[in-house]
């Protein structure tokens, strides 16, 4: 049987590359990747992808990257497609005035500038960490590992000076704080908003009370993520014991539903990891989330720590219908697609246009506009105006 090639469609190529990884033979690229777990590569159609290249499973990948004169190409053995390496941001080489390297504080992933001010995740202390967790988080959450607000603000400033308007993405691990981590993120978020005209997203845990979701919006978050990760109830309990016992799947879904009513359309999302549950249940998750106005974001499981968790077999042929389903679901529910876009770590609904028949292959004018600097400024302006109109402080009524 002829081997299927995905080279001619950037959306499927991105999915296949993210699933199978990339072999790096070229010493120059190796040096450029600099030991990172994934490298950011610009595929045709300005599709950016963070492709695993150092994990064990990548050794069996049919894909390799080669240098062709001044350019680069990815080959699958049957053909090749021209790509470009996303340059390493220059600000990574700088340091804050207290001497912390900018690259330690923030990482650029496509249009996102990802910052995790504290590496603590208390799931580890309670021994209920997510079983797929790559352990990015310092398990003890030592005090000295928390970046100060000033350091973070300086880093964001350096990134904005170089990149224009990235979306500043603040994330936090689990803590027992009823605000889901928002009380901790508040000074960071507010300082960033005070200093720069940029959009922000927060990845936090569902707070105990919905009023914290109101607060999250009011304090300046333009987008919110509460990642349920696994939709299937039983698998959720097994794979995410901390989330299941200390927060509960219902609370995740309720918080997402409420947040979707507070935040603008398309700005509330939740990860559903592809490969940790059967595709059918991911599709059910997609239906549920889009039904409540939430954008499902589907990262593909990279088996770095726990290979046994991954469903088997997991192939691009199995995954593609799930992504097609995602595109159709968000389109049918009329959810705005302009927020969750240009992400290197996941395939976004905007990129899936080329995958679904009748969806129109070309990127629309609006899509292009929101990708530009001006578009980003306009998005920031609209988002700020919306917040001004929607947020009210409540004062005690002095009546009689």
């Amino acid at each position: 049987m002829k081997k299927k090639s995905y080279l001619d469609n950037p959306a499927t190529l991105k999915i296949d590359l993210m699933l199978r990884g990339l072999r790096i033979a070229d010493p120059l690229v190796k040096a450029w990747a600099c030991g990172a777990t994934g490298i950011d590569i610009m595929l045709p159609g300005r599709t950016i992808a963070n492709i695993p290249c150092s994990e064990g499973f990548t050794a069996a990948s049919p894909y390799a990257i080669r240098k062709r004169g001044e350019r680069y190409a990815i080959t699958d053995g049957t053909g090749e497609v021209e790509v470009s390496l996303v340059p390493r941001p220059k600000f990574y080489d700088g340091k804050t005035s207290t001497g912390v390297s900018f690259s330690k504080i923030a990482q650029v992933h496509g249009s996102l500038l990802v910052i995790t001010p504290s590496p603590a995740c208390e799931f580890f202390n309670a021994k209920v960490e997510c079983r797929y967790c790559a352990g990015n988080f310092d398990r003890t959450g030592k005090e000295d590992a928390v970046y100060t607000v000033e350091d973070v603000v300086e880093t964001v400033g350096a990134a904005i000076a170089e990149l224009g308007s990235p979306v500043v993405y603040l994330s936090i691990g689990f803590s027992r704080d009823p605000s889901g981590g928002m009380e901790f993120l508040r000074p960071y978020l507010q300082a960033i908003k005070r200093h720069y005209n940029c959009l922000t997203a927060v990845e936090a845990l569902p707070p105990k009370d919905n009023h914290w979701i109101d607060e999250t919006y009011a304090m300046g978050a333009d987008s919110a993520l509460y990642n349920v990760e696994i939709y299937d109830e039983e698998l959720f309990k097994i794979i995410c014991p901390g989330r299941a016992t200390l927060i509960g799947r219902k609370r995740y879904l309720d918080a997402l539903e409420y947040a979707a009513k507070i935040f603008p359309s398309g700005t509330v999302s939740s990860h559903l990891i592809v490969g940790l549950e059967p595709p059918g249940s991911t599709c059910q998750g997609i239906d549920f989330l889009t039904g409540i106005g939430v954008v499902p974001v589907l990262p593909i499981y990279r088996p770095t720590t726990n290979k046994a968790l991954r469903i088997d077999p997991l192939t691009t042929e199995i995954i593609i219908p799930v992504y097609k389903h995602l595109y159709k679901a968000v389109k049918t529910k009329g959810i705005n697609l302009n927020w969750v876009r240009d992400l290197s770590m996941v395939t976004t609904p905007v990129e899936l246009k080329g995958l679904v028949e009748g969806a129109g292959k070309n990127v629309s004018l609006v899509d292009t506009f929101y990708g530009t600097r001006l578009g980003k400024k306009a998005a920031w302006g609209m988002s700020t105006l919306r917040r001004k109109l929607r947020v009210k402080g409540t004062h005690g009524q002095s009546g009689h």
């Binding site: 009023h211 919006y217 009513k261 929607r390 947020v391 409540t394 009524q397 002095s398 009546g399 009689h400």
Partner: protein, 477 residues
């Protein structure tokens, strides 16, 4: 400050925001039109200006487009600016005795609350007398009323709310579903509302009404006379209130031991009664006796302020402690309202309004009295009761003059019903606090409240017709 997110469609929010400037522009146009239109016969130029200012303030008060106190300040600016009264006269009116009485009452109530005396009394009474579900409801109801005889009903509601809320939680009552939960908060809200009309101390509206009466006619109402006239009405309403709430929401619990655990725990944390509580209690008692027996001689404000001085001489409170209890907004509002009332009267606008608008209602004092009290009750359900007084009283006093009704009696007809706000959360803070518990819905409140409104109007008019003559009061001069 907590945030709230307005989730209405954005177009609606934008439209509503745009309405505000349109509203103010329209108000300005109306003001100018009223100022410069040809004056109707019988209305002096000052009277016309006073009516224009009154109309603007009236709209601002009922629309709540500006805080009530700021509307009052606006009136204070406009009255001398348009020459209705001189500057000297306008600002001197702010020094009205009623304003200082209100200030004194706020500080005294603040001292009682700060000392912890009011909380102790509340907890002890509920614990002692609330042995059964029925008696607990009764004790909260009567306690809220009795405390509102002595201090602002809003302060009483705010003070008792956390205790009642803890009781409802302790009893595991389901918000919205439990009848007993509803009864707990109805007894709190209605107790405060009914008790709040019993004396001058339940709210600042009676002193305000008396301030307007004094500025326009030179007459006044004594502390003890007021209590004698109103107390039987309060007793009747307390009976009616209890029966109406238990009729609509029959008691659905049998055991309230857990409520006593909550009260017991709270009482324990208070420890034994302190010197401060004793001393503040004595000052308060002496003050009330002085109001009753020496009010005529020394003036209510004089007594209130003397007690305030005594509190500080005895070092029972510090300014810092009571500052938060003084509602300066209300004081500003009342000062402005008195000025506007005087402006309407002195410019002849009030009597012109009476003749041209209310003149044709009826020549019967009983009918006019009944209609005005009905109008007051209806208005107070939807707007601030102080605003109701300032809108209706100056005109009503003018009408009293025309129909030979005693202006003091007319003052009762507005001041007492203005406090009887039973129906909506926006009617009075006590209702708002009760609804905020989530045990009572706005619908529940409107249902029972409507019957209470009708009943209280009937009781008030029956008392005026049959009881007041017995104590030497009457409609007629």
């Amino acid at each position: 400050m907590t945030v709230e997110i307005d989730t209405r469609p954005l177009w609606l929010i934008i439209a509503l925001r745009a309405l505000r400037p349109i509203f103010f522009a329209a108000l300005l146009v109306l003001f100018i039109a009223l100022l410069y239109m040809p004056a109707p016969a019988g209305l002096s130029p000052e009277g016309q200006k006073a009516i224009a200012i009154f109309a603007v303030c009236f709209i601002l008060w009922i629309s709540n487009a500006l805080p009530l106190a700021i509307t009052s300040l606006f009136a204070i600016v406009l009255v001398p600016l348009f020459g209705v009264l001189s500057k000297r006269e306008t600002y001197a009116l702010f020094g009205n005795e009623a304003v200082f009485f209100i200030l004194g009452a706020f500080i005294l109530a603040g001292a009682v609350m700060h000392s912890g005396l009011s909380t102790r009394v509340a907890l002890t009474i509920m614990d002692r007398f609330g042995a059964s579900p029925k008696r607990l409801i009764l004790s909260i109801f009567l306690l809220a009323a009795a405390l509102s005889f002595l201090m602002s009903e809003h302060a009483v509601a705010a003070m008792l709310f956390p205790i009642v809320f803890e009781i409802s939680k302790g009893l595991n009552l389901k918000p919205g579903a439990s009848n007993y939960g509803k009864l707990l908060f109805f007894s709190l809200a209605w107790g405060c509302v009914i008790g709040g009309v019993a004396t001058f101390l339940g709210g600042a509206r009676v002193p305000l009404a008396i301030g307007i009466l004094k500025e326009t006619t030179g007459k006044t109402i004594e502390f003890s006379d007021y209590i004698i006239a109103v107390f039987p009405i309060v007793i009747a309403l307390l009976f009616a209130g209890y029966f109406i709430m238990t009729y609509f929401f029959p008691i659905d619990v049998t055991d309230i031991d857990k409520a006593h655990n909550v009260l017991g725990k709270r009482i324990k944390t208070l420890g034994k009664i302190t010197y401060m509580e004793y001393a503040v209690g004595v000052v308060m008692l002496v003050t009330i006796l002085a109001w009753v027996f020496l009010g005529k001689r020394f003036g209510l404000a004089g007594i209130a302020l003397s007690s305030v001085v005594a509190l500080f001489v005895l070092r029972l409170v510090r300014w810092k402690d009571i500052e938060e209890y003084v509602n300066w907004g209300i004081i500003l509002m009342y000062g402005g309202a008195i000025i506007l009332g005087a402006a309407l009267d002195k410019s002849g606008a009030a009597s012109w309004l009476v003749n041209s608008i209310m003149g044709g209602w009826s020549d019967s004092p009983v009918v006019v009295f009944a209609l005005l009290s009905l109008l007051t009750i209806a208005l107070t359900e939807a707007m601030s009761n102080a605003a109701v007084i300032v809108i209706l009283l100056p005109v009503s006093i003018g009408l009293a003059d025309k129909l030979s009704i005693d202006p003091a009696a007319m003052t009762y007809a507005i001041a007492v019903p203005a406090g009887l706000a039973f129906m909506f959360p926006m009617s009075t803070p006590a209702n708002a606090i009760a609804v905020s518990s989530n045990y009572i819905s706005v619908r529940d409140m409107a249902k029972g409240g409507f019957i209470m409104c009708v009943l209280s109007w009937l009781v008030f008019n029956l008392a005026a017709a049959f009881y007041w003559p017995l104590i030497g009061m009457g409609y007629l001069k």
